[in-house]
């Protein structure tokens, strides 16, 4: 596979190194002269000097035959535009963009620059896994398919604790698909009773979490 990477910062340089090790052909583009010279000592012909938002720089690097374009510069506007021309002008089938400021994620999405990966979000996701009292863990996010799966713990005193599954009222677009109890998991039936200490897996349309979490809050607790 031929991979074009824009931005030879820590992310770009290490990505290039890993992909080359896996046997892929890689060209890395870096616009800062000093950084380019540093990276060039290791990667030699696999790194080129230039502004990856300029079309001739992308063409010199062979964007026409790239199987994958990865934009990981420190500038969100640059990453958006590099991926936009890769996809729409050079008809590259696969792109990956880095989001530096998570607030800009909506603009990546608006302009169809997906997948867009944010380090902040990845770390937040890990924190959710590592800090169980948080109560809610995202297990799977498929925003393009309007689907996500979350894990919710059922504390003592939560409104949902003690209810039979067919008594639980969740918003349209959400469904309890599994219950984790005493180290095992099972698919519940209508008459299954949800017990304190359980964890519940819910499949839902993104954005419904807030309507659901209230039923999993311990008595007196909020949010």
């Amino acid at each position: 596979m031929y991979v074009l990477i824009a931005g030879a910062g820590k992310v770009g340089w290490n990505l290039a190194r890993e992909l080359i090790d896996k046997g892929h052909e890689v060209t890395l583009i870096e616009g800062n002269r000093d950084r380019y010279l540093t990276v060039d000592q290791e990667l030699e012909h696999a790194v080129q000097y230039g502004d990856a938002t300029e079309l001739w720089v992308l063409e010199r690097a062979g964007i026409q035959r790239a199987d994958l374009v990865i934009a990981v510069t420190g500038d969100d506007e640059d990453n958006i535009l590099i991926c936009q021309v890769a996809k729409e002008k050079y008809l590259c089938e696969r792109i990956v963009a880095r989001v530096n400021n998570p607030r800009n994620y909506r603009w990546f999405k608006l302009l169809g620059i997906l997948p867009a990966v944010s380090a902040t979000d990845l770390i937040l996701r890990l924190i959710e896994h590592e800090v169980p009292q948080y109560g809610l863990v995202h297990l799977l996010d498929l925003p393009e398919n309007h689907l996500e799966i979350i894990e919710l713990s059922v504390p003592e005193g939560a409104p949902i604790a003690g209810l039979r599954l067919d008594e639980v009222v969740l918003p349209d677009g959400s469904l309890i698909i599994s219950i984790l109890r005493s180290g095992g998991g099972f698919v519940p039936k209508a008459e299954t009773v949800i017990e304190p200490g359980d964890a519940v897996l819910v499949v839902l349309d993104p954005g419904l979490e807030e309507e659901i979490t209230g039923q999993f809050a311990a008595t007196g607790a909020r949010g």
């Binding site: 938002t53 079309l55 506007e77 958006i80 400021n101 603009w107």
Partner: protein, 140 residues
């Protein structure tokens, strides 16, 4: 008309002053608070006293765009000193806020041409300068 100008350097601030003098409602968004001085310079009354609006913020911040009134804008001019910022904010104005007329300054001629084909109204000062220099040489 409500005109929103994003980026008040030499070009943006001159267009802003002209636009206000033409009797439009004009809002300027710039990341540098000092840009307000450029708008006040050589004017009888200050920019804000003359009815102009000024917001400090960067082009991709939703809060700044909202405060500058992008939802009401009839015209948006993207004239920061960065082509990439201009091209992104122009597309945001079109697609997120449905602004009818969006004009974007792009210094790089090839990208100005390609984005024009994609439906953006681009103005390329570099291409204009090349044309003018060639005509001047030809005229002897």
């Amino acid at each position: 008309m409500f005109v929103l100008i994003i980026g008040a350097g030499r070009v943006g601030s001159a267009v802003a002053k002209w636009s206000l003098a033409e009797g439009n409602e004009v809002s300027v968004l710039d990341e540098d608070p000092l840009s307000l001085e450029r708008l006040n310079k050589d004017q009888q009354s200050s920019w804000e006293d003359a009815g102009g609006q000024f917001t400090v913020g960067t082009a991709l911040e939703t809060d700044a765009l909202d405060a500058a009134g992008i939802a009401q804008a009839d015209v948006v001019i993207a004239s920061t000193d960065g082509d990439n910022t201009n091209l992104v904010v122009a597309q945001i104005a079109q697609r997120q806020y449905d602004v009818k007329k969006v004009i974007v300054r792009v210094l790089d001629p090839r990208r100005a041409e390609w984005y024009a084909e994609q439906g953006l109204e681009t103005v390329c000062p570099t291409a204009s300068a090349i044309d003018m220099l060639q005509s001047a040489v030809q005229a002897g």
